[in-house]
């Protein structure tokens, strides 16, 4: 039902030519419009004087009675108008709209709540430049110094696709309290050259800090606070051009209030093997530090300050490192893998560390060989794993099914990257969920776990091996590029609290009565290891009898299918008791957030912010995606009216899983599932979550027409 609008005021007339449509819409459908006259929705698309098309939405209750209608945008009043309905009974509705006021873009309004943004009591420093210039070195040293000085750190890095050249970004967020995400804004930008400036300056927040090599670039006055440091010049004076990076690090330490002595410690540790190089390097650091103190001592940027008192023990570690150590702690002694970004660092770590533990690492000819060797090794008694990324995982699917069929324990880490196909190897995504849950011919039971922080990478690997060994099944661990590459300060890990599960061994019998695939109540059968006297069996990929011989009878296939799936059901009971999920926030909130994996940090941060603004919200994160802790999730869904599901994929895979699995509760309670997809290769920022929470809160409070849910 299209309507015509006429514009009254002179100002409104000026924009009349560009007025696109005035549409009355009704969520209940237009046919019921006349029945619900007291309840109109108006959507106006107009080209306002502010020079761009914007979409205003307003909801008017009884327009005739209350002629002033506010059009809101992003929670702020963007325009007010007077609207009258000319004829309610006519098949065509005529709205007369008179614009009283149009407020500009970004103009803050007193009315309505604003979405919380910013980095709280932490700062975000970005360094960008050509690969090979030392950006990563500067970042890494800075982060280590910050951590040593007692700060919490959280980094984000993207690599170029090229080996030499290509743009590389290293970003560090530091704070006195636990840092949970990348933050929203860039507070400080470090530019070593013009390109580093050009690429990132638009992301530096207004009034942010710009630190640059004054020998390389002369940026214009752009509203930021400038701190030029003649890095090249200082290095030239020292006749030590390779010291440029450390001069910059020294300047950064001074600018952000970090002690030089900690910087010296880090450099000493890094150069431990080359004491001859130490004096010049330490000198570079000191000169950068001194320059800033002498020139900007009076006007240093505001920074987080240092914590006082006893500092707790912290590890400065990346997601892949934590996962690899978790695997070793869980008893992994065999690793087979094929290089693939961003899983390669895990393999390299294993290659370095496994031999010392008597374990074996092999670089295979492809991913199919990698998973096959891991399965073979596990069959022969080793705790075995492989790690890969999406394209490699796709190649592994047939063998994954085989491990499920032959009931061989196996751990597969999929460090997700943006796809499909080769996609963006160095960018993050959470889009392999369906592949992890469902891929393979027929139904191959498996477990799927997803760590949600760097620390959790360690714990989920232990969990994964325990589940794999106990249930003799493949376990897929879904990490992602951002989680795998970022460095975080995490609390010390208590190895004493770790409990390992070993696979069920059979009682020795040599009379040939051993049945490898014995049907049991739990579905778990004792597993013999080659070398045990007389317990012969064949790990059989064909459907098989209890003894492991090929057998295609309907009864066998039925009972064996049930046996294999029963293991998941048994695990489902266990998973309720394991610490695989977190529920936090306001337990009486109507708005819930459910998610998985590395988006958790941003959600935690966003929730703290919106809660401070009196929006009630509660979250549930599960690290076990198959099986899911059903009982806990059903309890969480009680009393919720909307569930926001943030995910780094287009379709909203986890949202689909929730809708499908808990459909009854969702329909019964009238819960709205709000997909929050993000598919730009970058992780969530807290503000992304805040924004949607606000939208949903407004919707539930009945103030806004509709929540935009793209891409579903």
């Amino acid at each position: 039902m299209l309507c015509r609008a006429s514009l009254q005021t002179a100002r409104a007339r000026r924009i009349a030519g560009r007025l696109a449509t005035v549409l009355p819409t009704n969520p209940a459908g237009s046919q019921s419009l006349t029945k619900r006259r007291q309840f109109y929705y108006i959507q106006v698309i107009l080209a306002a004087k502010i020079g761009y098309f914007c979409r205003f939405r307003a909801r008017a209750r009884s327009i005739a009675d209350r002629p002033y209608v506010a059009f809101t945008r992003g929670g702020q009043v963007a325009a007010r108008c007077r609207a009258t309905v000319e004829s309610l009974n006519s098949p065509l509705l005529f709205f007369v709209i008179e614009f009283l006021e149009i407020t500009g873009r970004n103009r803050p309004q007193q009315r309505g709540r604003t979405v919380e943004t910013g980095n709280g009591d932490s700062i975000v420093i970005r360094m960008g430049g050509e690969s090979g210039e030392g950006i990563v070195t500067i970042g890494e040293i800075f982060v280590l110094v910050a951590a040593r000085a007692g700060l919490e750190v959280f980094t984000f890095r993207t690599y170029p696709a090229e080996i030499m050249g290509g743009h590389v970004v290293y970003q560090a967020r530091v704070g006195r309290n636990k840092v949970l995400s990348d933050g929203d804004d860039i507070d400080a930008l470090v530019a070593l050259n013009q390109e580093g400036y050009d690429q990132h300056i638009h992301e530096l927040r207004p009034g942010g800090t710009l630190i640059y090599d004054s020998g390389e670039l002369q940026p214009p006055d752009d509203g930021h606070v400038h701190y030029p440091v003649p890095v090249t010049e200082i290095a030239q004076q020292m006749q030590f051009m390779r010291g440029k990076n450390l001069v910059m690090v020294g300047s950064l330490l001074a600018l952000f209030g970090l002690p030089l002595v900690k910087g010296n410690e880090v450099v000493e540790a890094k150069l431990g093997k080359y004491p001859a190089l130490l004096p010049t390097n330490l000198d570079s650091l000191a000169r950068g530090y001194q320059y800033v103190q002498e020139h900007y001592g009076e006007r240093l940027p505001t920074t987080v300050g240092l914590p006082e008192g006893e500092r707790e023990e912290r590890l400065v570690i990346s997601g892949n490192q934590a996962a690899a150590i978790g695997a070793l702690a869980a008893g992994c002694r065999f690793y087979a893998g094929y290089p693939i970004t961003p899983a390669t660092t895990l393999m390299e770590f294993m290659a370095q560390q496994l031999p010392a533990l008597g374990g074996k690492m092999i670089q295979t000819e492809d991913e199919i060989a990698a998973i096959s060797m891991a399965i073979g090794a596990s069959y022969a008694g080793a705790k075995a794993m492989t790690a890969t990324s999406g394209p490699g995982f796709a190649l592994m699917i047939e063998a994954l099914g085989h491990a499920s069929m032959t009931e061989v324990p196996l751990v597969i880490v999929d460090v997700q990257r943006a796809g499909p196909s080769t996609g963006m190897p160095t960018k993050t995504a959470q889009a392999d969920l369906f592949m992890a849950l469902y891929a393979g011919n027929d139904e191959a039971p498996r477990f799927v776990l997803a760590p949600d922080s760097v620390e959790d990478c360690f714990h989920q690997m232990v969990n994964a091996f325990n589940l794999a060994e106990k249930y003799q099944m493949p376990v897929v661990v879904l990490s992602d590029q951002a989680l795998s590459a970022r460095v975080e300060t995490i609390p010390a890990i208590d190895l004493g609290a770790i409990r390992l599960t070993e696979r069920l061994k059979p009682e020795p019998v040599e009379d040939g009565s051993y049945r490898r695939y014995l049907i049991t109540e739990s579905g778990i059968s004792p597993m013999a290891i080659p070398g045990m006297p007389g317990m012969f069996y064949t790990a059989e990929g064909l459907e098989h009898s209890e003894k492991g011989s090929p057998n295609y009878t309907p009864e066998t296939h039925r009972s064996m299918t049930e046996k294999r799936h029963r293991k998941v059901d048994t695990a489902r009971q266990e998973i309720q008791r394991l610490p695989v999920s977190d529920r936090w926030g306001d337990s009486e909130a109507e708005i819930g957030i459910m998610g998985w994996g590395s988006s958790k940090g941003a959600v935690r941060e966003a929730m703290a912010r919106v809660s401070a603004n009196n929006i009630r919200v509660e979250a549930f994160y599960t690290r076990s995606l198959l099986p899911m802790p059903d009982g806990l999730i059903r309890a969480f869904l009680q009393g919720k009216r909307a569930i926001i599901v943030p995910e780094l994929n287009y379709r909203g895979m986890f949202a689909n899983v929730i809708e499908h699995r808990y459909g009854r509760e969702i329909v019964k309670n009238g819960i709205r599932i709000v997909h929050l997809p993000k598919y730009d290769g970058l992780p969530f920022r807290p503000v992304d979550i805040c924004r949607v929470v606000h939208q949903v809160a407004r919707e539930l409070a009945g103030r806004v027409l509709k929540v935009w849910t793209p891409g579903c």
Binding site: L328, S372, E398, A399, L495, M535, F536, P550
Partner: protein, 300 residues
Amino acid sequence: MITTEQKLTIKDLKSAVKPIWCPGCGDYGVLNAVMKTIIGLQLDPSHVAMVSGIGCSGRFPAFVNAYGFHGVHGRALPFASGVKLANPDLTVFVLGGDGDAFSIGAGHLPHAARRNIDLTYIVMDNSIYGLTKGQPSATSPADVLQQSTVKYKGRRKGMTGMLNLAQTVSPVNPIAMALAYEASFVARGFSGAPKELHEILKTAVLHRGFSLVQVISPCTTFYDTYNYWRQLAQPLPADHDCTDRAAAFRLALELDKAYLGIFYQVERPSFEDQVAKLIAQPTDSFAPTAVASLLNRFRR
């Protein structure tokens, strides 16, 4: 290699599962030769693993009273490599067909060969896909339709069509391939010559490293080439020096003869022996001290 004190017999080694192969299938000869090899070397069956791929040959492990692993198509070598690396005490036989070894799994062959993991890879080569009823394989000769005593005409049209098309491509030369990949042991046997086959297998198992044994094992149902191979088969020249790779190549390229015997054998350290030198004593699966010291490196 772990041997047994007990006197093993064929009866001990035969499992309760009866082979499903067609009467006259070459694979029976291979099965017998493998069992005889185990008996001859007095291998402890509890320390023998039989790893197979898919196809008629893939059923092999089920018929032997030893540890078996029936994998997916083409991946027998990686599965077996994992088994051997995780437990080097096992004697690992890898059983495959020409589809497994030279088509779907051909990419694994060079890597198994260059790693030189101590595996005995027995490829039962019938130059046809038997289990799927007679499609040509990578080793089907160019004159594929002429070589079989099986009359194709009037049997299955699809199959004849496939075989017709097969004449447009050249077959692979498994022995030359393995030599090019620097397999440290390359031999050819024939299920129609069981005594020689047994001898070859014995040497192959004793060889410390990767051994590839191509066993001509005709399919009596879809591609009966017994007569063809019997005409071509002959022992390798008595003066053949099996450490001479170039000579082995020359013999492998003589396509009008099918030499039986060990083409090439050279001692090269096996992968697992070299790895053993690089790694420490195996630790328990729970090694908190080692893990703690690893974590310590990341303390701020």
